[in-house]
Amino acid sequence: SQELEQSPQSLIVQEGKNLTINCTSSKTLYGLYWYKQKYGEGLIFLMMLQKGGEEKSHEKITAKLDEKKQQSSLHITASQPSHAGIYLCGADSGNTGKLIFGQGTTLQVKP
């Protein structure tokens, strides 16, 4: 079965610093989804990547999917306290509509 591994598990950065979160799949990805979760709340959809080499940006967050479609990165530029939370990657391995999720990366941004 497919597994998603995220790194790092947790991250503490100073406000204004850039950071990167990685998501690696054991199998080729049909679609890779990034979500953000504030502590104790539901997941908020950020963006979805589908094609090898694809890159999408929303405000200061950029996500990329590698050419082999087995690894994705989420990059935050000039981090702010509002970026703090848990970032999760999800993947649909077989075009089934079901997603599996990585274990999440907890981000703290120090003012």
């Binding site: 979500y35 709340e41 997941l43 509509g97 274990q103």
Partner: protein, 115 residues
């Protein structure tokens, strides 16, 4: 905007009680999902439904059942709650409209404590 609501944010139940968690979505989505989220284990799929009265087991269905009598509502049932079912429960929905995109939209979650 898609809205997924869950009946309770916090719930405390006793061991052996029957527990109902309700989820309602307002976007006419065909697919609905129930997950539990635990530290160190991430999100795990309990059950999902592709249509009214249809249900399929996810990765951890033991101890749970579901009901989908109407398209907008998906209920998770703990027949006899146990302490190992203490967890955060998340409901999600998605649409078949675009077969290449399966963004799931999540509710705020229900934190269930079984004592």
């Amino acid at each position: 905007d898609v809205k997924v609501t869950q009946s309770s944010r916090y719930l405390v139940k006793r061991t052996g009680e029957k527990v109902f968690l309700e989820c309602v979505q307002d976007m006419d989505h065909e697919n609905m999902f129930w997950y539990r989220q635990d530290p160190g284990l991430g999100l795990r799929l309990i059950y999902f439904s592709y249509d009214v009265k249809m249900k399929e087991k996810g990765d951890i269905p033991e101890g749970y059942s579901v009901s989908r009598e109407k398209k907008e509502r998906f209920s998770l049932i703990l027949e006899s709650a146990s302490t190992n079912q203490t967890s955060m429960y998340l409901c999600a929905s998605s649409s078949y409209m675009d077969w290449t995109h399966y963004e799931q939209y999540f509710g705020p979650g229900t934190r269930l404590t079984v004592t």
